[in-house]
Each structure stands twice: as C-alpha cells, then as structure tokens.
C-alpha cells in the first residue's frame, strides 16, 4: 500500500486535540521569574532618562533592565542582513537613547509573578523628548528626519532589476498603460500563539532557551555573537508552536532580553509571554509596498511585452532580516505571465513603524499583487475580459526560465482557470452580473493567479549582500533504528503547525513498507538533539521538498544498511530481501520464504549485541544523517540573475463580490480556490493549508490593516480594531486541485502553504470589476468597508491611470 496521496489522521492531533500540546507558556520551572517589557508610547523620541528606582523597590521585583544596560551587556548589536548603510544600524533589543517605533521596549522588569512584573513596569518612569515621526516610506526617502544616525540615511537598500530590451519594447508597443501609484497595505498573519520564551543563563555559562522561534538555525547565528556566547553554549528548544507564518522568525530580539534578564537575576529562568496587543504593536508586521510610475507596454493583442516601475518598500524601524524582502520578490518576477522585459527600481526605507518581518507570502505576494493589478487594469482599459487577458499572457511551456534566471518547474495555469470557473459556476455568475448591472447593483467577478515559490535557496541573500552565505537550500534529517527496533526520525526544521510529523511518517512508511503509526517523528526542535544546518527552519513553503527529500535520502541510506545487516543475519542475498510488516512487526524478509528478521532484532544487534558485527559490518550503525542539497548554482550578483527557487506551486482563485452602493460594504457571494502543488503527499493537510492561506488572504483583503496616525500611533493594536478574520467572516470555499508534478523534487511535490496571497489579488480584481462601471480603478490592496466607501465617494477624481494608444 502506498502512503503518498493518503490522508491518515495527523499524528500531532493525538496530543493537540486532547489539550496535551506543550507550548512555551505551559512551561513551569522551579524558581521561574516573569518579565514585563515597558514600551514607548512614542513612535520617535529621544530617551532623556529611565528611572527604575520605584520599580526595583516594589516587593517581588527581582531586577530591572534598561536599554543602556542592555547595550553594556551585549558585546555587539544584532547583525543586520543588509549591506551598508543598513549594516551600520545599531540594533539592540531595547531602545538605546532613542525610540524608533511605538511599542519599542525601553525597560524590562523581572519579578516573581507576571502581575508583579507588570506592576513594576507601571512604576518605571521614562522621560522622552518627542521627535517628528516618519510614517511613509516616501517621506522617509527624503531623509529630512534621519531615524538611525549611524546609517546616515533612511534608505537602507536600493537596486535596479533590468532584464531584456525594455526601452525597445516600449518603442514598439501598440499600447502603453501608465499607473501613477499603487499601494500594498501593512498587515500580518497573527498566529494564535503570541511570541514567548523561557531563558535560563546558567551559572556555568550555558544558555538555554525554550521558545517558539520558527527559524532556530538563523536565530542562534544572531544571538550567539550578540550575547557573547558560542553557538555550542546556547541550547535552543521548541515544542508545539501555535502558528508562525514567518512572524516568529524575528522573536530573537525578545529572546535576547529574556536571556540578559536571567543573567542579571542570577541565572534563574525568566519567562516572557507576549500579550496580543504587544504582538500587534511590536512583534513584526508584513511589508508595506508602494508602486510608483508604473508603465506597461502591450502589443496589439493585449499581450504584455514590458513593465517598468519604481517600488518602495517600508520595512519599519529596523531592517534586521528584512532587506531579503528587497530581493525575494524577484523569485516571481513575471508572476505567471510570459513578460520578458522588466525594469524595476526597488528601494527600501526605514520608518517609525513596527519592524517588518517575514509574513505568509513574504515579499512575493506584494509583487504578485502588483502584476495581477497590472493585468486587470490593462484588461479593463483595453476592454479585454479578465479571463481572456490572462489566457493571452500565461506562461504555458515548462520548465520556464524567467528573465532573471529563475526556473518555473511545472504548471498549467489555463487548466487551473478552467477548473476554478467550473467550481464557481462562471457562466451563471456572468449572467447574474449582467442582471445586477442592469439593476444598478455593483457585482464583480475577480480572478487571482499566483505562485508559491517554495524552497527559497537564499540566492537572494547573496544578491542583496554579496558577503552573505548561499545556502543552496540544503536540509537535514536523521533516521535511526533504536535499541527496541523503533524507527526514530528527527528533522532539521521545527514545525509550527504544518504537520511535519505526519507527512514525515508517511514518507518513511512508504519507503520502509510499514505503517506511519510505527514511525516516531520527534516533536519540536532541539539544538541539542536535532541535527541541522544554519538555514534549517520552517519557512518559504519548503518542507515538502527540502525536508522530505532529506527524510527520503536518509531512508535510502538506512535501507541500504538494513539490507546489508539482514543479508548477514539471514544469510541471504540483498537482492532477495524485501521490506514489510510480518507477525513480529516491521521486518526484512527473504522473498518467497518465511525467513525474516524484525527491526527489534536488528536494532538490538547493532546497539547492544554488537560484537558479532566487527569487520565488514562495523560501519553499520542504523543511525543515519542525510543532508539534501539541491543542484543550485551561485547567482550572478551583478546581473541579479540566477535560479532562486526549486519549485513553484500555483494557486488560482475566483471571487464574486457584491458591493453595497451606499455603504461600501463588500460581500463575498462565492469563492473558489484551485491549488497545484504537484504531487500531493497528504490531501487533507494540503486542503487545510489552502483553506488557512485563503482565510488569511481574505482577512487581509477586506478586514485587517495596521493603521497608523500621523504621529506614529498604531490605531489597530487590539483584535477589536485589527479585526482578524474568523469563521464568521469566512465564505464557503469551493476547493479543487490539479497536480503537475515537479521534475525537480524526488516525489514530484512542490513546496506549498504560503499561498502567494491569492485572495488579495482576487478580491482586488473582484472589487475592481464591481466598481469599473463607476469608472473606479483599484490601486490599493485593502478593501474594508471604509476604504471601499472612500473609493465610491471619490469616484469623480482622477484614477491615476492613463492609456496611450499608438
């Protein structure tokens, strides 16, 4: 029986649905202390004085930390991934001398209970001298108010991505469409579990973290030098994580504060568990991006031949990991379309807002939204139906090398469109739309085609900063048969809800001819236990390709050892052996006979009764480490050219939306989502990820936004204002899939889960289609009642779109 393509019950659910999950805030240690962060109410201000005397005098308060102390205790500030000027930014986990965003920690209070720590926090007296806040990236680019003196500018990165013959394509164009300005709004995926850490800086110098960081391999590289310890002295452990969506990659800053607090508290363990408001205010937001002076060249058939544009990314107060976002979008440069000529001038700037962090669909969804907007705006302006416009422009031959050297492995976008139309009842809705328009109602049908470029290989890191390592996307797994014959697997990545335990067990079961229940995949991640590489982690939709390829490779090596061992035990030829399950459990047997040896016997022989193995079987350990290394070459940094991703899953969504003409309320009447992630390992898990990404995208499109006022106050820092999507707001999703197996992964699977922000593109397209009768062009990604009402109210104003027919 094959276990690939089946949906066995999730192994994780055995504990999670019984309330037996183990999350950071569940941890209780003897002597555990609690940390409260005092945060700046100002977005931009000099710190004149921090007085902690009253807090320290409060009974139950053990110690406090200020920014000045943190600077004293840290041998160096955190590394910024970007080159100069970003590299010159002094980035401490607590504000030193100056706050750069509202909610930035300015002091910490450590106490016997969380309540005492909070009470102590209220007694910390901070004097500020307020400065003008820089709220937009365009404003930041002017450098009138420089946020980081050490950088000397707010412009942290800039690069021009030019491919093909752009000017010639514009000279030859039949039509040029110009779009003055588009804007992708700021939001984040708000995992159910906030950031949390327990840190214990032991007296003998070792430092333990129990945390929910989702990219431990990266975190330890930043934490070790900043805290002045070796990587080996630092032990980072995770267990169950209640979602990350990339957000938890960047909680290493709070991990550092907890570690320093533990050190100051004499080595007692210190727990910090973030509140929801803290999370929304200061843990990390998705990138906000503005697209300026966009020009699109089209031929006489409505085929796009060139795009030139200027993009400015707002990375908030500190770039940190973020300049990667300046490059990572180029994994999907032409989106799903065959455009060969591009010139994109990309800049990133710091502002007095919460730092940007990776967020589901990271950096690529902004660009994919931009390309989808181009498609729809051009379609409307040229009077070409949106579906036909896409069919004229889709890439149809695979593998396809993009103008910047990325290789799209496989896909069939027209088939996905056809399937989505079938699911939603396209023809019926077109008739209903015609009727609605005749009645003066605003009903729109929108298509969004998008990509999930799973398995990013960090080639973009090299392009962004030539001094950074190029990982090539390797990943590690171990597998062993233990003393009792159990199959134990550890992964290089720590999952945060992606069902790694289940899919890993399926792959191992498939390879060994056993049942997934017989495979134990260790939960969580432990730097002391798991084997990993510097970029191991759960991000970039990569696990099905890199993680499971590592598992597969480890299985192959284990099977080779098991064959040698069983052949020795059974005195048979390796070729005559087969894997399976017998009366005494998992075994290898001699084909056509009743001779067999089970895993317990082999495990015991290797681990216990092993003197007999001296000689030619001396190297058999049944304990395998395998590093998967995809065949990437180092990108050409000068040309910004190279293959940055191994697989490209695709999503195609269609939405039908009716807009209330008086109030602007957008109501989703029907929604279809078609996914292609190549060979599906577990349909139920893929379906769950598609639904989750769809919910996140719809929430972002119609509800969620981080709205700042002109002084840098975040106005949406609680769930009553941020309004995350819930089941009450979620439409029924008609879900379907096609499978175009990837030629580049051993199983044909493609990385998936981020979803490419498909609902954002789709909802924008549907709102556009609904409002086009009013002459309105949609140039923003957020479609709340208020923003749609504003669109309707200002419909007489210029749309900022010009069409030049030649």
């Amino acid at each position: 029986m094959s276990w690939i393509g089946k949906s066995p019950n999730r192994k994780e659910d055995v504990r999670l649905i019984r309330g037996q999950g183990y999350f950071v805030d569940d941890k209780q240690d003897y002597g555990l202390l609690h940390l409260h962060l005092v945060r700046s109410p100002y977005a931009h201000a000099h710190i004149i004085n921090v007085d902690v005397a009253a807090a320290e005098a409060l009974p139950g308060v053990i110690c406090t930390l200020t920014g000045a102390e943190v600077k004293e205790l840290m041998p160096e500030s955190f590394m910024e991934l970007g080159p100069e000027p970003a590299a010159n930014i002094q980035d401490y986990p607590m504000a030193v001398g100056k706050v750069i965003f509202q909610g930035e920690p300015v002091a910490a209070v450590v106490a016997e209970t969380p309540a005492l720590a909070a009470d102590g926090g209220a007694l910390v007296d901070v004097d500020y001298d307020m400065l003008d806040a820089v709220i937009t990236a365009e404003q930041a680019m002017e450098d009138e108010e420089v946020l980081h003196e050490s950088a000397g500018t707010n412009k942290t990165w800039q690069g021009v991505y030019e491919y093909g013959e752009v000017d010639a394509a514009f000279d030859e164009a039949a039509t040029v469409v110009k779009i003055d300005r588009m804007h992708f709004h700021r939001f984040a995926s708000t995992p159910v579990e906030n950031n949390a850490v327990v840190a214990e800086w032991k007296r003998h110098g070792e430092l333990d973290f129990f945390c929910n960081n989702s990219f431990v391999g990266f975190a330890q590289q930043l934490l070790a030098p900043a805290l002045g310890v070796s990587v080996d002295q630092m032990h980072i452990k995770t267990h169950d994580i209640g979602g990350s969506f990339g957000n938890k990659i960047s909680n290493y800053t709070q991990m550092a504060i907890a570690a320093l607090a533990s050190r100051k508290a004499g080595g007692r363990p210190v727990k910090w568990a973030e509140t929801r408001t803290e999370h929304l205010l200061s843990s990390g937001h998705g990138n906000e991006r503005t697209f300026l002076d966009t020009e699109v060249a089209l031929d006489k058939n409505g085929v796009i031949t060139a795009v030139r544009s200027r993009h400015i990314d707002d990375c908030g107060a500190y770039p940190r990991y973020e300049p990667l976002g300046c490059v990572i979008w180029s994994q999907v440069l032409p989106a799903t379309y065959g455009v060969r000529n591009f010139r994109i001038d990309f800049s990133q700037a710091v502002t007095n807002k919460c730092p940007a962090v990776p967020n589901r669909g990271y950096s690529r969804m902004q660009h994919l939204w931009f390309m989808e907007r181009i498609i729809d705006i051009c379609a409307h302006k040229l009077d070409i139906p949106a579906d036909e416009m896409r069919l004229r422009n889709y890439i149809t031959e695979f593998p396809y090398t993009t103008p910047n050297g990325c290789v799209y492995d496989s896909g069939n976008y027209p088939a996905m469109l056809e399937k989505a139309k079938e699911l939603i009842g396209w023809d019926d809705w077109k008739k209903k739309q015609a009727d609605a328009r005749a009645e003066g109602r605003l009903l729109g049908i929108g298509i969004g085609t998008t990509l999930d470029s799973g398995t990013n290989n960090f080639g973009q890191a090299r392009i962004m900063n030539p001094h950074l390592p190029f990982s090539g996307n390797s990943e590690v797994a171990t597998i062993r048969i233990d003393l009792q014959g159990s199959v134990i697997v550890t992964l290089g990545s720590g999952p945060s809800g992606q069902s790694h335990e289940t899919t890993t067990a399926q792959v191992v079961a498939e390879e060994l001819g056993i049942n997934p229940d017989l495979v134990r995949v260790r939960s969580g991640f432990d730097t002391g236990w798991n084997t990993f590489v510097g970029h191991s982690g759960s991000y970039a939709s990569q696990f099905a390709v890199t993680g499971l390829s590592a598992v597969h490779g480890a299985c192959e090596k284990l099977k080779a050892e098991m064959r040698r061992l069983a052949a020795f035990i059974l005195e048979a030829s390796e070729e005559d052996l087969e894997f399976g399950i017998g009366e005494e459990g998992p075994q290898l047997s001699v084909k056509g006979t009743d001779q067999a040896v089970n895993y317990w016997y082999m495990g015991n022989l290797v681990n216990n009764d092993n003197a007999v193995l001296a000689g030619e079987l001396g190297d058999v350990t049944l304990n395998i480490r395998h590093v998967y290394r995809p065949p990437f070459t180092v990108p050409d940094v000068e040309r910004k050219y190279g293959n940055l991703t191994l697989t490209y899953a695709a999503q195609l969504h269609i939405a039908v939306i009716e807009i209330d003409r008086d109030f602007g309320h957008p109501r989703i009447l029907a929604y279809a989502a078609v996914d292609d992630c190549g060979t599906v390992i577990n349909p139920k898990i893929v379906g769950g990820q598609v639904h989750g990404a769809t919910a996140h995208g719809i929430g972002a499109a119609i509800m969620e936004t981080f709205q700042y006022d002109e002084t840098g106050n975040l106005l949406t820092s609680s769930f009553s204002d941020y309004c995350p999507i819930t089941s009450m707001n979620m439409p029924d999703v008609q879900y379907g899939s096609i499978q175009t197996p990837s030629p580049f992964s051993y199983s044909g699977a493609k990385g998936m889960g981020e979803g490419g922000g498909a609902p954002l593109h789709t909802v924008s397209a549907a709102v556009q289609d609904a409002l086009i009768t009013e002459g309105i062009i949609v140039t923003d990604s957020h479609h709340s009642v208020t923003s749609v009402f504003e669109l309707l109210r200002s419909k007489d104003e210029s749309s900022g779109v010009q069409v030049d027919k030649r």
């Binding site: 109410p41 509202q102 209220a122 002109e710 002084t711 106005l715 949406t716």
Partner: protein, 155 residues
Amino acid sequence: MAIQFDGEFKVARSRADTFEFLADTQKFAPCLPTFQSLGMEDDGTATVKIKIGIGKVRGIATINLALEESESPTRAQYSGKGKVMGSAFNLISGFNLEEIDGGTLVKWSGELKMFGKLVALAGGLIKPIARKDIKRLIDALQIALDPKQAEQASG
C-alpha cells in the same frame, strides 16, 4: 493622534483680571476636568494629577504643566506633558485676551497630542471624549472667571 481646538467666550472682568487668573497656574490647573491635585515646582511650573480614562480603563495621569508664554495682559499659553497607563500626551493651550465693552473676550486655542496604549484602546472614541473634556475645561474657566454670567447662561 492630534486634536486641535479653539473657540472664544466673554467674561465680565477686566482684561488685567482675566489675565491674572489665566496666567496663574494655581488658579488655572484646578479647572482641568477631573482635577485631583496640584504641586508647584516653581512659579510657572506645576505637577498636576487628573483622573483620565475611557470606560473601565481608568488611571491617574501626571502632567508637568508649564506656563510657557505670559504677555500681560494679552496672552498666556501653557504647555503640558502627561503620562498615564503606558500612554503619553502633549498639551498646548493658549489664551489671547481682547478688551470689549463690559469685559474681556477670551480667544482660546490649542492642541492635544496623544500617544500609546490609550489611543489604541479607545480607538475612535478618544476624539469625542477629548473634545468633551476640553469643553469642560473651558466651561470651568468661564465659571471661575465670571460665576454670575455662567449662572445666567446656564439658566
């Protein structure tokens, strides 16, 4: 979040008397709505405590209030910096005085800037509440400056 405010009222007092009242921190500060206490740091600077909050989110705000401009008898302006519950606010409140028949015309204007948790928690409620509190301050000043007229006006 910034709120600008302005307006005017008449009082049956001389301009000099009116100025003397408005430029006296010890007389002005108790007119702040929900005033709790006043401690003078020096002639023109005081630490004032007022109750502040919205709904069940309430606390005592500490304001460092300073008489920033004092041009007898035509103009007085206060500036204040306050802190409450992880939030902060900056206040500027100025008064221009003009002589009119039978008294003084007080033209008032200012700006309240608020930052932090309270703004986020109160959301859209904060502007109307702040405007209401500003009206209460002006009403209190009017009553203090001209009790009879205020009484007649009220009824």
